[in-house]
């Protein structure tokens, strides 16, 4: 699992260490929810999860999660299933790298 490092070379945030396990567990659950939402064509649900990822990732030191959330949110607004699929795969890879 990644250390609770600060963003962009900033000093590590000591508050993150204790919070990281629950945060990562919820991000894994988000991956499952994203897949389910895509399968049912629920773009509103994709947008909601994407919005959460965009607003949260960098705060926990994971800029890539915020960036993926931003891309997912844009794809959900366009109802672009193919792009959503690409971004979900990207997100799964980010999570795999963090563990």
């Amino acid at each position: 699992m990644s250390a609770p490092a600060g963003r962009d070379g900033a000093a590590p945030d000591p508050a993150l260490a204790g919070l990281m396990p629950a945060y990562l567990a919820r991000r894994a659950e988000d991956a499952r929810l994203l897949r389910a939402a895509l399968e049912t064509g629920d773009f509103a649900a994709v947008a909601q999860i994407a919005h959460r990822l965009k607003g949260l990732g960098s705060t926990y030191g994971h800029d890539a999660i915020s960036a993926t959330g931003r891309a997912l949110e844009a794809a959900a607004a366009q109802r672009d299933s193919a792009q959503i699929q690409v971004q979900i795969e990207c997100y799964r890879q980010i999570l795999a790298d963090l563990h």
Partner: protein
């Protein structure tokens, strides 16, 4: 300092609580707008931090109600992942004092919280003196003078008077005062606050007379120190 946080996301709430707690703030989290509105009808806070998208009543609606219901100019910081110019302008126009787009950054968030909470406070000199004529409060000796004459104050009287002068003009609930002056874990009830308020009102002559200050009791809500018109 007491902060009300309206945030339904557990990870956002957890990190904000951790940052604010480390910085010495006491933060109470509300996960729905309805729960938050029930609380602000009976309690006071030094700062409100509101997310936009929360269950029941949105942060936007909660802000409107807060500004309608609470006459005191309590600062509000809006914290949301919505970052369009239109959204920022809308929320600031509704009465928020600051708008911070997620993802949050620790140092910036704490700097903005500090800036908002010191707004409207009486200035304290670098030597630790606060002048609220005719009173002078001296932090180093924990003493209060009226027109240069020292008053007889216990340490707790001083703490309470200092807290009320720092928050002059704000309505403070009994629980808020108790937490701030006696500490979070104080095993006391709010009648302790009433007793000490009566005492500093008498000792400092805060009845709206010669001192020009009045310490008023607001039924079922708390106390406010205010300048009297006379």
């Amino acid at each position: 300092m007491r902060i009300a946080l309206l945030e339904d996301d557990p990870d956002q709430a957890a990190i904000l609580n951790a940052w604010l707690g480390e910085a010495g703030y006491r933060c109470r989290t509300f996960t729905s707008g309805a729960e938050y509105l029930r609380e602000i009808a009976r309690e006071s806070y030094d700062l409100h931090i509101l997310d936009w998208n929360v269950p029941d009543v949105s942060g936007e609606q909660a802000l409107k109600v807060l500004r309608e219901r609470v006459a005191d100019p309590v600062p509000v910081m809006f914290v949301t992942a919505r970052d369009s110019e239109e959204d920022v302008v809308h929320i600031l126009t509704l009465g928020a004092d600051d708008y911070l787009a997620k993802p949050l950054r620790r140092a910036e968030t704490l700097a903005r919280v500090a800036a908002l909470t010191r707004r409207g406070r009486p200035r304290e000199t670098p030597e630790g003196t606060m002048v609220c004529p005719p009173f002078t409060l001296r932090m180093s000796t924990r003493a209060i003078e009226r027109d240069g004459v020292p008053l007889d104050m216990t340490p707790k009287d001083f703490e309470l008077a200092l807290y009320m002068f720092r928050n002059a003009g704000k309505l403070l609930s009994r629980a808020h005062i108790l937490e701030s002056v006696w500490g979070k874990t104080a095993a006391l009830d709010t009648r302790t606050v009433d007793t000490h308020i009566s005492r500093i009102r008498r000792k400092l002559d805060l009845n709206g007379g010669a001192t020009g200050w009045r310490l008023v009791s607001v039924y079922l809500q708390g106390y406010r120190l205010e300048k009297s018109s006379g």
